[in-house]
Symmetry: C2
Subunit: 556 residues, 2 copies
Amino acid sequence: MKKRILILGGGFGGVYTAVFLEKLMTKAEREATEIAIVSRDNYMVFQPLLPEVISGSVQLNHVISPIRRLARTARLYTREVEAIDIAAHTVKLSPGAKPVPLVISYDHLVIAMGTRLDYNKIPGMREHAFPFKYLSDALSLRNQLVLALEEAELENDPELRRALLTFVVAGGGFSGVECVAEMNDFLREAVHSYHQISEKDLRLILVQFDDRILPELTEGLSIFAHQLLVKRGVEIQIGRRLMAVSADTAIVEDLKTKQIETIRTRTTVATVPAAAHPILSTIPLPKDRGRIKVDEGLEVPEAPGVWALGDCALVKQVDGKFSPATAQHALRQAKTCAQNILASLRGTRKHVFAFTGLGKMGSLGRRSAVAEICGVRLKGLLAWLLWRGVYVTKFPGLDGQLRLIVDLILDIFLPRDITQFRLFPEEDVHREHFEAGERVFKEGDVGDKVYFIAKGEAIVLRGDQPLAVLNQGEMFGEAALACNHPRNATVIARTSLELVVVNRVAFHELIGCLPGLRYNIETSMNQRIGAVLIWTGKFGSQWPGSERDHAQPAVR
Amino acid sequence: MKKRILILGGGFGGVYTAVFLEKLMTKAEREATEIAIVSRDNYMVFQPLLPEVISGSVQLNHVISPIRRLARTARLYTREVEAIDIAAHTVKLSPGAKPVPLVISYDHLVIAMGTRLDYNKIPGMREHAFPFKYLSDALSLRNQLVLALEEAELENDPELRRALLTFVVAGGGFSGVECVAEMNDFLREAVHSYHQISEKDLRLILVQFDDRILPELTEGLSIFAHQLLVKRGVEIQIGRRLMAVSADTAIVEDLKTKQIETIRTRTTVATVPAAAHPILSTIPLPKDRGRIKVDEGLEVPEAPGVWALGDCALVKQVDGKFSPATAQHALRQAKTCAQNILASLRGTRKHVFAFTGLGKMGSLGRRSAVAEICGVRLKGLLAWLLWRGVYVTKFPGLDGQLRLIVDLILDIFLPRDITQFRLFPEEDVHREHFEAGERVFKEGDVGDKVYFIAKGEAIVLRGDQPLAVLNQGEMFGEAALACNHPRNATVIARTSLELVVVNRVAFHELIGCLPGLRYNIETSMNQRIGAVLIWTGKFGSQWPGSERDHAQPAVR
């Protein structure tokens, strides 16, 4: 029986553990061992270049590398991890083409599952903020920027137009700074293709909790970055935090004065806060703030044969600090981890993770960056060249490097692409969040959604006249939808409001297959036409008998 | 007041009408006229190169061109057309950021809305076939190919594995042939990155209604294309038609023998049949098979000031034939249309559409093509170089041409990308189609969906023992979902079966906001545990009173 080394996670930590294992094993060892990787996607994202996808200076599929070509002998499971059983030495994976979960046993387990954005700390973030972590996030953010320009170009309402042209990025670390810099570059170039929008209509805001951006760097570089971004048109708000997000606003609080600003925007990008992968909370290993505690050889002392590395592990460096969540650290940890798994198989002595970082670099967009490498501080074009050079040479594979170089050359000479891919349809059933006082919809709007109150209260108004207060468990908006009429009343959040929203097509499908639902709505509407303008019946309490002729599916 | 020329459609016909208008107008005319284009997307797809996106030999965003950069002075509405009122001279557009429809009036209307795939003729096509028409289709098809390889790599069930590695393309015209050729190239190269799959496991089938593929060409070229594709591993079935598609099969009928073959496959691509844009059926203009009849100057005789061109118009050529649906014809029609709108504004004589086609070309994949240009027949590498050359030079803009050339050069030297973007989540509420005898799910499967019967009948089995027959309006599968257990019975289609399917997350959201639904399911399940294994209650008929404590939203 082959020994199985099972690696969870397709990022730098996981993939490079497999790569180093392949490299370090003897032929005999290779034959006696199976390396398996579990990754949601069949590619590894080269995170440092992900912000470049926003502006299009690097092509979408040039920041990724197929895992099968990196770790050539490993078995790749393109699946989600559903459960880890440390005692039984098994991992359960999500079903694929066949609706049956897959259970894999292991001899060594490498946990390299990274972090997730923590949506629970900021109300409305899950519903309305654009995360920035995965490849699809970069693409969907880019699409949102183009959509905002397209909409602003056609919009006459000055307030809505301003909201469309306002962009908020939360988090002033490397990720947030690179993100806002690329957004800024892209928007300020793209705007020239829009007749009705001028560059000065654009407002980009970076919200930073700390008292300076890029607190990872020395103050001088941080000031340089701050001034450069401001010069290029980014508004930086320091000492502030994102409190809540809704469809129409970002709400920001000043940490000192406790003053609250409501910024009208349709685009709030969240790069913070990070949280541990939820599955980690289910496994009985010692953790610190969600990160798995490992020894200096990256093994979990309480569970020999279980290893953890990368952002999901708490790795103490030889200098006493904990490894930060960067690619360079994950890469070196992968090497140590591979060495130590082999040491464990061979019965030899283990290595100690001895890397403490080479330096830090961050791009500020077009031809500028900041860097601190081995004590040397660089800024501007030189830092940018270094930054680009380092990441191109670090990109896995010669073909990938060549593609990046071509992108960089083309980016110098060619205009940036302003096309928008509508690849992300809104979910049929989704949630929306409104803060107290915000409007859900307005009299005269097109009715294309039905709303159910999951939490909070809403007021129904006609003109200035309140008609009703709706509570948890009640629904509204279905009248307009069923008749395909404009909304005949306005609904406003009375408190912080959580809504479950069903779109038109899905609602008609559900009406079609739930005869009772259809009958109920039709009856109520017949009774109430001209009286109550938005029907607010509770389901269940008024449920009538079904009639077979209502069971026909709605026309889609 | 400016005269408004309103163009509906962002394809070759529509965009180039605007381009030629801009070019042909005098300065004074430009100032007195507004050109507006309505297009769903803010880019034009260069259709002839779309199949190349499947194999990745051309980058996704290099086959498109931003409309704003092509027609620089035109006003672009990135909207859907919702209604055309010929009598009132207005067009109603879908709402954007503001949920209010937009109504635009016009002096001249150009209808260039192309065609749509007609999903109504083949059962199951809408639910399960991959269309091949838009940019997103090319990307989602490419993802499906990678997904099929990923799944087949992990699958032990030989039958399912075979279904995953079988790919059916319906339609042997240019579109179907180019599509199957690119799929074949991509799969046969990509397969080398998969340890468990060998090239001979792949089965690609082209189904053609006619008695030969590419009937648009002379027989010699058609035979050459046929033989080349067969040599490269494509199975060609002539004289056959696609009868039905389900999640698991493509059903094909032989037109002569009437024999039916059920091909087990997870990937059926439909390039036929085309139908008129549904909005055209609502406007009172003379049509022939859905296409708008125009005079030889492209104007609708019954409605002066209304013009139609491209695939949605029936354009008689000077040789007496009707213009085929190709880019070269749309482009020339756009020029004639622009000239004639100007002639109409100027009161001068109109032009007659005099183009009859330069020839026909089709790619057969890697370095081979067939072409008939001005009576000369070419095949193989020479035809391929011509094909590439023509389309690169026809691509709008020098920057776009440069990008294409770079792609072509890189494609010669670099391996093809096998990454899969999971950008298209399954809809929360969608439809599935099953043919009689097909299995919906099986005992032991993971229960991640709830099913409502929209049409047809299903049988519930435990082992070989039938438990119940379910009819239209009934639901099944919710028990497994609510308890998060595996399916405890098998469901098979008794007749052709149309299902409305709600996925796990959406179902829990709906249960959360429809207290009656939740209460009902819980009660029934408590009553029936151990008795009927799948609860089959009709909604509405058994609806109990709601209880407020059931109104808590389900945890997502």
